[in-house]
């Protein structure tokens, strides 16, 4: 579904990604971890070309992401993206945040789009909050709306960049519950997270990055119990003590 072939990313003098190679199968849930500044976010953001890659090849669902002939806007509609900071549109209600893509991009009639958006919101327990503006929602509610906004577009792939890092501890649970349900479906998921329990439970594979390189790919149990790479060992050891 997603194939990285020696993907590198350079900003002027900073090498953010160095020859990352790996592939993610359809329906696979990949948990991306590593210390901060290791290139996790950058890697996730190359998949929908929020970051252009400098060299290498990145093929997503059969499409070469760097290909200039690709209609990037249509391509992105098939990939849900959820960021740490939710980034809901503050001038729209929760319902409108979810329906705007259906209505403006997928050209669904407004009523249909809103009905579908409502259905999605109800499924995550936000029906009563549908007509509230983001400013009136809690962090956990905002992030659930953001996830639903991405899901409503019926993507094949979900990219999640630390979806729970900006949440107060008591709100992490509600978002993780939602992500658990997601992971059980047949979505292909690439998720940056520091939630180890979550990673263990729902991840099919852990990708460990450091210094812009993908250093280890392993099933969660093996990764957390006996990491192979020295940097991964340090990382896991630090987590155990934290």
């Amino acid at each position: 579904m997603i194939v990285f072939e020696k993907v590198s990313k350079r900003y002027r003098s900073f090498q953010a990604l160095t020859e990352v190679s790996g592939h993610i199968r359809r329906g696979e849930v990949v948990v991306l971890c590593g210390p901060s500044g290791s290139g996790k976010s950058t890697l996730v953001r190359t998949v929908n070309r929020l970051e252009e890659i400098s060299s290498g090849r990145l093929v997503v669902d059969g499409v070469d992401v760097s290909d200039r002939r690709v209609n990037i806007n249509e391509f992105r509609r098939g990939i849900g993206f959820v960021a740490q900071q939710f980034n809901l549109f503050p001038h729209l209600t929760a319902l409108q945040n979810v329906s705007i893509g259906l209505y403006r991009l997928l050209k669904m009639p407004l009523r249909e789009a809103e009905a579908l958006a409502m259905e999605h919101l109800s499924r995550v327990g936000l029906a009563a909050r549908a007509h509230r503006y983001p400013a009136d929602l809690s962090g956990g509610e905002k992030q659930r709306v953001a996830i639903v906004r991405a899901l409503a577009m019926n993507p094949k792939i979900m990219l999640l960049d630390e979806p729970t890092s900006a949440l107060d501890p008591e709100m992490v649970g509600e978002v993780l519950n939602l992500l658990r349900t997601l992971a059980k479906g047949n979505l292909t998921i690439l998720c940056v997270t520091h939630e180890l329990g979550f990673a263990r439970e729902v991840g099919d594979t852990v990708w460990f990055m450091d210094g812009g390189r993908l250093l280890e790919v392993a099933p969660p149990d093996r990764f957390f119990s006996s990491p192979q790479h020295p940097r991964a060992r340090e990382f896991v050891a630090a987590l155990d003590h934290g």
């Binding site: 992105r76 503050p90 403006r104």
Partner: protein
């Protein structure tokens, strides 16, 4: 002191009619200038938001000309300068069709557009970058992102400044009298010329301007309350 205030002269008969028609002209100039200005401002804002440098400089030059040259001079440039560049037949046509008002509308809307586009631009800059990214990641194109996500937030942020600009421009329409547009201030001057009723003529006009600007201010405040952007 032998000055008896007497508004009845100014507020009846021919002079009342002149005042009303002056008010109508001022309104026409203001409303058409405002909407045309808004349209130009949006185009300028869009151009300035693209990454294409030479076009951005062109817009910057446009904005600086209109912000740094007095509106009166701009009116003169349009009214006295433009006809020199146009063929005689066009001029003849314009002169038969209220050229003064036409050029005044153009001058005022170009002036208004420069200020409005600056307000939109600072509004746009105040919208967090992540908003643009969230929209692009969903599959909105550059223009769709502008139209549905960024500009709706930018104008809410820019609203107080836009209201201010609007008031500024409303009063600016009074300069059009100098190139021969018979608007409210020009009417006051004519009435004063004919009647020597200085305080009455300008008093009534002042009251009319005040009523209009206060209405605009209240309208602006109501819009701000209704469309307040909370984050």
């Amino acid at each position: 002191m032998g000055y008896d205030l007497d508004f009845s002269v100014v507020l009846s008969g021919r002079y009342l009619e002149m005042l009303l028609s002056g008010l109508a002209t001022t309104m026409l100039l203001f409303v058409s200038g405002w909407f045309l200005g808004l349209a130009i401002a949006l185009v300028l804002t869009l151009i300035r938001a693209t990454p294409f440098k030479p076009l951005q400089w062109l817009v910057a030059a446009y904005v600086e000309y209109h912000r740094n040259v007095p509106l009166l001079v701009q009116l003169f440039v349009w009214y006295f300068g433009m006809p020199q560049l146009l063929p005689l037949s066009v001029n003849r046509f314009l002169n038969q069709h209220n050229a003064e008002l036409g050029f005044a509308v153009i001058a005022v809307s170009c002036f208004m557009a420069a200020y409005m586009s600056e307000d939109f631009r600072s509004g746009l800059r105040a919208v967090p970058k992540a908003q643009r990214e969230a929209a692009r990641a969903m599959g909105f194109s550059f223009l769709q992102t502008m139209r549905w996500i960024l500009i709706p937030q930018a104008w809410r942020i820019a609203l107080p400044a836009l209201v201010n600009q609007t008031l500024h421009m409303f009063k600016g329409t009074s300069l059009a009298g100098i190139i021969g547009v018979v608007e409210l201030t020009d009417v006051a001057r004519q009435i004063e010329d004919n009647t020597f009723r200085v305080f009455e003529a300008f008093g009534v006009v002042t009251a009319i301007y005040l009523i209009c600007t206060l209405t605009l201010m209240l309208g602006g405040a109501a819009l701000s309350r209704r469309f307040q952007l909370r984050t």
